[in-house]
């Protein structure tokens, strides 16, 4: 009967099988006998294999092997289990009876063509993949001092650029997949954790991650549609419990962080000579009264960077209890991460608690869920201590800038007041860099809970239905307190305090139907789904000053309540989507994937809320053709091509509504009479027609393996065109409004080439050496008639702009033509022969021409050595710090490059003369020679680099018999170094630093940013 019905269903699969199920599902019965299978999975070199995926053929559900390779699973009699893991051949074993103590040997095969990779709402064998997907190798991740999942992606996958633009603990990285596509939105990829779209990865302990896959082209990401698939998708799978004896895995690591370099600065005597030169060149040699040297100045020589930077500990610990019984598994983990900053008062502490469990109730139903909680406290850089340099004055200058500018002959603290004093000695108020950090405490506490629950219904004919509800509750609380006992500025107002809090709640409801089956050589996998999501966010802020008792800074004890820090917001959005996908292949030779997604969002104009995005790709595995049978060169050969459309949303929440401002003041028509708050236009007009920004992406790729998979090559070419650009268009002021968000009929173009090479250089039993190299080229161009969009500015001008005809991340300013040997002034270019120095000339781009990584894994007996190198070239960095630090127009301390400054006529140097007041606002009469601090090519530096990102050496202590005999299953010790060496011409702390964060308009400006640390870590993994 079953067979008959199957045949019937087969004919109908192209129709709506949901409707069919509704009618017929209840007619069947499925009584089958349960059996338990348990055993150990090991490699062909007898090494136990952990995290092996064990799935039930033709059904969902399954398990993974434990760290010692053991597994237990309860299945129906006659079930075929599929064992798979990256790097080994897939194995399929059929079980007709209870089996214990089974030993499954996996054959090492570095290509892993039968490996399963996680794709949108499902999995796929690597050999059948037709889109552009990168799997990140995580086999040794525990042996790195990783604090952030994004760090894990760096250098590992072609087309994925990971930049640590700010070194402060708790800061995110910029993860950019295939370039910037939007002028307005962010470029952050979507994170999907165990199928939950948009999961907050901050709640995941890095130790709990089993695998990461990156979906890059539209054919792969299109299924995720609305979530922001234009920027790529990062699929994360976490470790699950394994049936059998409960086991405990513990990891502990202790590291030491330190700054990677100290910038050379002038000492007191050199600074004094510079100050005298500045007066002399300004024609004021006779009156140097601005120079005020403290008594005994020649005997004090503080290097403020050395006082500022410290070695800081990094501690990571986690314990995971996991196990499972018949048809179920669980894992409970607790993790702790404590990272102190390399500057005082900066830190991040994180506590993770995670629980996952899944249980099959019977052959019909599986239920499961997960909960992840994280509590994090971050000691932030106080506001205004980054993104400016030392001369901000009055406590607002950057800490790193002040550490250069603060006079070396000044004492650490004012000897009379005991305060960290502002350095007023030389005409500029330079805040004490230590005083800035100790004087303001800015702490944020985050509480984030991610919960998920799902029900899987295993229907007949390889159909399953998943109903999943997930939610994220994210609260944070920030307090910023200026302690009146540390700095005079806080003392003058008896301290200030600001408190702000955010409550964010999201729910997501997924419904997925999945059908997969094989008919002879035809393999078919179909999914259809519905998703609804709602998000809300509330924010409130309050503040005060004048605290009578030092140490008590609650708002209720403030004598003065702030009127400017008294505000709040409340926002909401919702999304609704339907999607479907067909994956078909014939004999793993002719491959096809087609997806369609219809997305609706409340963030679009009320007339254009829905859009449909199709995508498709095809592949041809030439290696499976008959004519390839007799050759030995290739062990795999596949070509693939895909095309698809994805959508991007505006940042506005309510584009269809004219939101009105509440006027700050009330106009009293009548003293003592009724008074109404005022309501007026807010400047941004409604646009109920705003629609999706669309990206069309073409991808052509090939996967080739040679010499029995010893050498593997993957190459992809892509072309992305973004249209209907979401753009804030200025309105004529005569409309009474300032701007309106529109779809601009222009394009943002990205095209690029990605190549990955992998090789098993040595495969001897005792010694193995695997190497992977990847390189990516991306070219970006804006072709849209936009008014230039302003990006990062420094006090003397704007550095980055988004402009028609240029790449995202382009910098503009004056072009320096070097120092005139006669006058010592900088000469600026005048390409249009206007007779004056010209501004807004193109200076370079922040995005690299090429970037990539090079990984090497060596093993020798119990030892393992991993080396990860990352690199980029062709990128420029605007070193904004230098406009003050070697501008030489005031009396503050400078970098020691200024020792090479022009001094007398005929000097040939690239450093101009020192002259007091010689900045852009005080230009000399010569139009070509002005402004030491102009935004100019003088501060544009080559940001190309090669970095030894990670080296780790580990030893498997569990290989020693004695260790085994005391019941320890795994025991590994390692020492790792992160960010050890960077080879670059860049003169600042690191070429990655960027004050503008991840916005497309603000790339590549290093301006008083927290530097990167290098870390040495010792660690231990132990399993019982």
């Amino acid at each position: 009967m079953l067979k008959k019905k199957s045949a019937f269903l087969l004919q109908k699969t192209r129709l709506f099988f949901l409707a069919f199920l509704l009618l017929s599902a209840s007619k069947f019965s499925f009584a089958q006998e349960k059996i338990t299978v348990s055993g150990t999975v090991a490699s062909d070199s007898s090494k136990p294999l952990s995290s092996v995926s064990i799935t039930i053929k033709g059904q969902s559900g399954g398990t993974t092997s434990g760290t010692d390779g053991t597994f237990t699973i309860s299945v129906n009699k006659g079930t075929t289990l599929i064992f798979s893991i990256v790097g080994y051949e897939e194995r399929q074993i059929k079980f007709d009876k209870e089996t214990t103590g089974l030993s499954v040997t996996m054959t090492s095969k570095a290509t892993g063509l039968n490996d399963v990779v996680v794709i949108g709402y499902g999995t796929q064998r690597i050999k059948d993949v037709t889109s552009s997907i990168s799997a990140v190798n995580l086999s040794d991740e525990r042996e790195r001092p990783i604090v952030n999942i994004m760090q894990e992606l760096a250098g590992k996958a072609a087309g994925v650029q990971v930049q640590q633009f700010n070194g402060a603990p708790g800061q995110d990285f910029q993860v950019l997949i295939r370039g910037f596509t939007s002028l307005s939105g962010n470029a952050t990829p979507v994170y999907v954790v165990d199928g939950i779209v948009g999961y907050n990865i901050a709640t995941l302990d890095v130790n709990n991650i089993a695998s990461i896959t990156i979906l890059k082209d539209a054919s792969a990401t299109g299924i995720y549609g609305v979530a922001g698939s234009t920027n790529g998708v990062v699929e994360i799978t976490t470790k699950k419990g394994v049936a059998g004896t409960p086991r405990i895995d513990a990891d502990f690591a202790q590291g030491i962080q330190s700054v990677t370099k100290i910038l050379p600065v002038l000492n007191g005597v050199q600074l004094h000579q510079l100050q005298v030169d500045e007066y002399t060149n300004a024609g004021e040699a006779s009156d140097t009264s601005g120079i005020r040297l403290p008594a005994n100045w020649q005997n004090v020589n503080n290097n403020w960077q050395k006082l500022l930077f410290r070695t800081a500990p990094l501690t990571r610990a986690s314990v995971r209890l996991s196990g499972g019984g018949t048809g179920g598994n669980y894992a409970l983990s607790v993790g702790y991460l404590n990272q102190d900053g390399i500057m005082p008062t900066i830190f991040s502490k994180k506590l993770f608690i995670g629980l996952t469990a899944e249980q099959s109730l019977n052959k019909w139903f599986t239920i499961g869920g997960r909960a992840d909680y994280v509590r994090q406290t971050v000691g932030n850089m106080p506001a205004g201590t980054q993104g400016t340099t030392g001369h901000g004055g009055g406590g607002s200058g950057a800490v790193t800038g002040a550490a250069v500018a603060y006079s070396p002959y000044e004492p650490e603290k004012d000897p009379t007041t005991g305060f960290f004093a502002v350095d007023n000695s030389n005409g500029q108020a330079i805040p004490n860099p230590l005083g800035q950090l100790y004087g303001t405490s800015d702490k944020t506490t985050y509480n984030i809970v991610n919960v998920e629950g799902h029900l899987i219904v295993h229907l007949p004919f390889n159909i399953s239905y998943t109903n999943r509800i997930s939610a994220e509750i994210s609260d944070n609380f920030e307090n910023i307190i200026q302690d009146p006992t540390i700095t005079s500025s806080a003392a003058s107002v008896n301290g200030t305090a600001v408190y702000n809090t955010t409550d964010n709640y999201t729910w997501l409801w997924d419904n997925i139907l999945d059908y997969h089956n094989s008919f002879g050589k035809n393999n078919l996998d179909v999914i259809a789904g519905l998703t609804a999501q709602k998000w809300q966010d509330q924010y409130a802020e309050t503040g005060g000053s004048g605290f009578p008792i030092a140490g008590i800074y609650s708002i209720s004890s403030a004598s003065t309540r702030s009127t400017t820090q008294d505000l709040g917001t409340y926002d909401r959005w919702s999304k609704y989507s339907q999607y479907g996908r067909v994956m078909y292949n014939y004999d793993s030779r002719y491959l096809l994937t087609a997806t369609i997604r219809r997305d609706g969002s409340s963030q679009l104009g009320i007339h254009n809320q829905y859009a449909t995005f199709p995508a498709g790709s095809v592949g041809w595995r030439i290696i499976n053709e008959k004519f390839m049978k007799d050759q030995n060169l290739f062990s795999d050969l596949k070509v693939r091509a895909g095309y698809g459309e994805t959508g991007n949303l505006p940042s506005a929440y309510y584009p269809s509504y004219d939101v009105l401002n509440v006027a700050s003041g009330q106009y009293t028509y009548d003293a003592g009479g009724a008074s109404y708050p005022g309501l007026g236009l807010n400047g941004t007009a409604a646009n109920p027609l705003i629609k999706w920004e669309e990206t069309k992406q073409l991808n052509i790729g090939t996967d080739i393996a040679f010499f029995a998979n010893r050498l593997r090559v993957t190459a992809d070419y892509y072309d992305k065109q973004t249209t209907n650009l979401i753009y804030t268009s200025n309105l004529p002021t005569s409309t009474g409004q300032s701007n309106v968000v529109v779809n601009l009929p222009g394009k943002v173009l990205n095209h690029g080439l990605e190549i990955s090479l992998g090789g098993d250089i040595l495969t001897h039993n005792a010694i193995t050496w695997t190497s992977n190299f990847n390189i990516s080229f991306n070219s970006n161009k804006i072709k849209a008639n936009i008014t230039p969009i302003q990006g990062t500015s420094i006090p003397s001008g704007t550095v980055t702009w988004l402009k028609n005809g240029y790449s995202v991340g382009s910098m503009f300013g004056y072009i320096s033509q070097g120092v005139d040997p006669q006058t010592g002034y900088i000469k600026y270019a005048d390409p249009d022969k206007t007779g004056a120095a010209e501004n807004n000339l193109y200076l370079g781009k922040a995005l690299p021409t090429a970037f990539g990584g090079f990984t090497n894994n060596l093993t020798y007996k119990g030892f393992g050595l991993d080396v990860l190198i990352e690199y980029a070239w062709g990128n420029k960095v605007f070193n904004a710090n230098r406009y003050e630090e070697d501008g030489m127009y005031d009396l503050t301390n400078q970098l020691s490059t200024t020792l090479h400054r022009w001094r007398t006529s005929g000097d040939k140097t690239d450093i101009p003369l020192a002259i007091l007041g010689e900045n852009a606002s005080n230009q000399t009469n010569n139009p070509y020679e002005n402004g030491n601090d102009n935004v100019s090519s003088r501060y544009v530096e080559n940001g190309s680099f090669v970095r030894l990102r990670n080296v780790s050496l580990s030893y498997n202590i569990a290989a020693i018999n004695f260790v085994k005999s005391i019941g320890i299953k795994t025991l590994r010790a390692y020492v790792a170094g992160e960010n050890l060496v960077t080879i670059t011409k860049y003169s600042g702390y690191a070429p990655d630093l960027n004050i503008g964060g991840t916005s497309p308009s603000t790339q590549g400006v290093d301006f008083g940013v927290y530097p990167l640390a290098k870390t040495i870590t010792f660690g231990l993994n132990v399993g019982f």
């Binding site: 809300q536 919702s574 969002s601 939101v659 009105l660 106009y667 007026g680 309105l731």
Partner: protein
């Protein structure tokens, strides 16, 4: 639970999702704690929009009525100059003063300020035009609010037209189908629109609001009439100006008006913070609430007061509207110390200062004299250490009886009746303790009225328009006649300089707007 039940439950949940989530309302999210135009078509909502229309006149972030109008009318003319010393900080005012302004020197003109306020008048008019579900919103309340918005819209447009000539007539809130690339309307069309708004307003607005103390902060019939009289005069339509004046003025000045207005006895009370609010002479005024960070404080004081006062704001932002030597001389030679001391303070009141030659450029007089130059107190008198340092509370009288009386005199004279005009001028002169006019001819009376208006309205935003109304060539010749104390000619202006430059933001966003000639 039975398996079947679980199955049904899950299938039901799919259907529920299809049924509920698919409903369009799931995606129709209105701003949850913000006000949008869809939710304000109620009595309270319209009152709040109207309140904002008035609040913007007084707002501390607003610039036009506290002082931009003084820049346009007084600084540009022979009444005052940009007397602050840091040229970088006030490029726009300096440029307006020296006729070096162009599309990028925006300060001191008010294009965007005025259009911003017009946008909010349009908002009220558009929202009120929709059907409301609020039963308490009566037609009469709605019409009165719309009339108030039209009065204010006319006031803003009139100020735009005085500075720029014909402007873009934007009469509705921007929406998707608004064409923004439009040319400017002709000056005649603008006058037609302003007169239409004011005629509408006059037919609806009451003479007084029952139970309200601050009558003059509201749009009244007489306020709309006083503005309409000025509009007609500026247009050159003296017949309609005369008729409007007669409808407005009390019987004492030959009119039929019922507002009960009368001249205040003491001229200085008009600019004295303790007496200038709710005077009998005021038709429409902007009342400010003083104090540090008060949202509707009058900050013009610190833009006008001299920098040697101990202000809490940076010193360059001072003396933007400094009286010229020529104005001081005019008061002195006219024997008009009443009004001179009413509108300005002369530090030390010294002959030392008065002995200095004419200046209209801070670089052209000795810096030692800086503390002795006069400053206007028409927007508030600075008191050292007082609350004015943070933001004053003095009311700004926008429309007042003396203006209407002199306009009637001007209208009579221009319609061939100088004899009846003279007593009206004398009524104004009498308050200033000046003798009656001795001139009789139409042309002499015309000059006498212009002169009287200068003395009466100096530092109050009238002069440039008064000069232009008298004659374009007269204005050009007058300005070109001035020299600095070294005898150098200060200006060489042409008819193009009578209007100001359209700001670059407008020209870029609306390429067919068109610049005024000469810029």
């Amino acid at each position: 639970m039975k398996n079947k039940n679980i199955l049904y439950l899950s299938l039901t949940s799919v259907s529920l999702l299809l049924a509920t989530a698919c409903k369009k309302s799931f995606l129709n999210i209105t701003p949850p704690n913000q006000v949008s135009t869809s939710s304000v078509n109620t009595l309270a909502g319209l009152q709040e929009i109207l309140n904002n229309n008035f609040e913007q006149l007084a707002d501390a972030n607003g610039h036009f009525y506290p002082w931009f109008e003084l820049v346009n009318e007084d600084v540009r003319s022979d009444n005052s100059f940009d007397g602050q010393t840091d040229n970088n900080a006030s490029e726009g005012v300096t440029a307006c003063d020296n006729f070096t302004d162009n599309a990028t020197t925006t300060e001191g003109r008010g294009w965007s300020e005025l259009y911003g306020m017009i946008g909010n008048c349009n908002l009220l008019i558009d929202v009120a035009a929709k059907t409301s579900s609020d039963a308490t919103l009566t037609d009469s309340a709605r019409n009165q609010m719309v009339a108030s918005a039209k009065f204010l819209r006319a006031l803003h447009y009139f100020n735009l037209m005085k500075a720029y000539g014909g402007v873009i007539l934007s009469l509705h809130t921007y929406s998707n189908d608004t064409t923004v690339v439009v040319p400017r309307s002709s000056l005649a069309d603008c006058y037609t629109q302003v007169i239409s708004d004011l005629t509408d307003a006059i037919s609806v607005l009451p003479v007084s609001y029952p139970g309200v103390v601050n009558q003059h902060t509201r749009a009244t019939k007489q306020a709309a009439q006083a503005l309409l009289a000025r509009v007609y005069a500026q247009e050159g339509d003296y017949n309609d100006c005369l008729a409007t004046c007669n409808a407005l003025l009390p019987a004492a000045y030959g009119g039929t008006g019922t507002s009960g207005a009368s001249l205040v006895a003491n001229f200085a009370d008009l600019f004295n913070d303790n007496a200038s609010t709710n005077t009998t002479e005021s038709f429409f005024e902007i009342q400010h609430v003083g104090g540090t960070n008060a949202p509707t404080r009058n900050f013009a004081t610190w833009l006008i007061a001299p920098s040697d006062y101990n202000l809490t704001i940076p010193s360059p932002f001072t003396k933007f509207v400094t009286p010229t030597q020529d104005l001081v001389n005019d008061y002195m030679t006219s024997g008009d110390t009443v009004r001179m001391h009413g509108v300005m303070v002369i530090e030390n009141d010294s002959t030392e200062f008065l002995g200095e030659p004419f200046f209209d450029n801070p670089n052209h007089y000795p810096t030692t004299a800086l503390t002795q130059i006069p400053y206007f107190i028409t927007r508030g008198q600075y008191v050292q250490g007082g609350t004015y340092a943070a933001g004053g509370s003095q009311s700004v009288i926008v429309l007042r009886l003396a203006d209407a009386i002199l306009l009637k005199a001007e209208a009579l004279n221009n319609t061939g009746d100088p004899a009846d005009a003279i007593p009206l001028v004398n009524a104004i002169r009498a308050r200033a303790k000046l003798p009656a006019l001795t001139v009789t001819s139409q042309s002499d009376v015309a000059l006498a009225i212009l002169h009287e208006r200068r003395l009466e309205f100096a530092g109050q935003g009238y002069r440039w328009s008064d000069l232009r109304r008298y004659g374009s060539q007269y204005t050009i010749d007058l300005m070109n006649s001035f020299t600095d104390y070294l005898g150098n000619k200060l200006y060489n202006i042409t008819a193009n300089n009578l209007l100001e430059a359209i700001p670059i933001d407008e020209l870029e966003a609306d390429p067919v707007c068109g610049q005024n000639p000469g810029y």
